[in-house]
């Protein structure tokens, strides 16, 4: 997203503060992305629908407190959505789910010898199960949501260098364990 687009989006936010109906434009723009972000972390359409609605209600309730930091408005929505998901898991006390599409895993991992087998997928999933949740969150935002580190840091309420470090550590583990090239590897 270019700087001009981000600024333009912030103008809509400013308009929404005065007239709440203007927020509809942002709702339509980001509904799908937030919904699928939550769905990937719950694997339940009903729950994702509820949490997504709650995310936008919270955004509307706290719009007067929103501070523009040169990031897309979606970063704030992702942050609220993440908090809603965490709140849901704290309440339900169940193991956190990460639902990953096979096609996305294929995009992420490019085997150097161009082969792809079921065994590798199984091992990869087993390996990912034992990764710390915060590492998985960073990987998800970086590779499945295509967020840059500045945005990831804002969404997960951490420093940019912290987000980078977590990603590189997770990728290093992937490389060492599976001898694979990872998307964005040069």
């Amino acid at each position: 997203m270019s700087e001009a687009e981000i600024r333009q989006e912030n103008e809509i936010v400013e308009r929404s503060r005065k007239d709440i109906r203007a927020f509809g434009e942002l709702y339509e723009k980001y509904f799908d992305r937030i919904y699928y972000y939550i769905l990937r972390q719950t694997d339940d359409e009903e729950i994702a629908g509820d949490l997504c609605s709650q995310t936008f209600v919270n955004a509307l309730n706290h719009l007067p407190k929103y501070e523009y930091r040169g990031l897309p408005f979606s970063a704030w929505l992702y942050r609220i959505a993440g908090n809603e998901v965490n709140k849901y898991y704290r309440k339900k006390k169940v193991t956190k789910v990460f639902s990953i599409e096979e096609i996305k895993v294929r995009e992420l991992v490019e085997r150097s010898d161009d082969t792809w087998d079921e065994d590798l997928i199984r091992k990869l999933l087993e390996f990912m199960k034992d990764l710390p949740t915060d590492m998985l969150q960073v990987l998800e935002l970086r590779f499945f949501e295509d967020k840059d580190f500045k945005e990831i840091a804002y969404i997960l309420e951490m420093t940019e260098s912290g987000a980078k470090m977590r990603t590189y550590r997770a990728l290093d583990k992937l490389r060492k364990n599976f001898h694979i090239k990872v998307k964005y590897d040069e």
Partner: protein
């Protein structure tokens, strides 16, 4: 035990988001929560004011009570002026 449950989806997510897209309902919930927030705030302020008034009344009554029960007492000390008891 594993820290997280990783599930692999063979197919892309079905495009079912539209079922839950309802800006009208979101606006309605927002308005409802806004009203509830105002009611809670007003009630809290009323409660605080009530407590302050009650404290003032109770303190006033206590002060009045202490004034009526504590009559000035004469000490048992005998004061003499030039050999005479005053």
């Amino acid at each position: 035990m594993s820290k997280n449950d990783i599930r692999l989806r063979r197919q892309r997510f079905a495009r079912g988001a539209d079922r839950y897209r309802n800006y009208g309902a979101v606006m309605e919930r927002h308005e409802k929560e806004k009203k509830l927030k105002i009611v809670i705030r007003a009630f809290s302020m009323f409660l605080v004011a009530l407590i302050v008034i009650m404290l003032i009344v109770i303190l006033g009554r206590l002060e009045k009570k202490s004034r009526t029960t504590h009559k000035p007492t004469v000490s048992g000390q005998v004061i003499t002026v030039r050999g005479q008891i005053v």
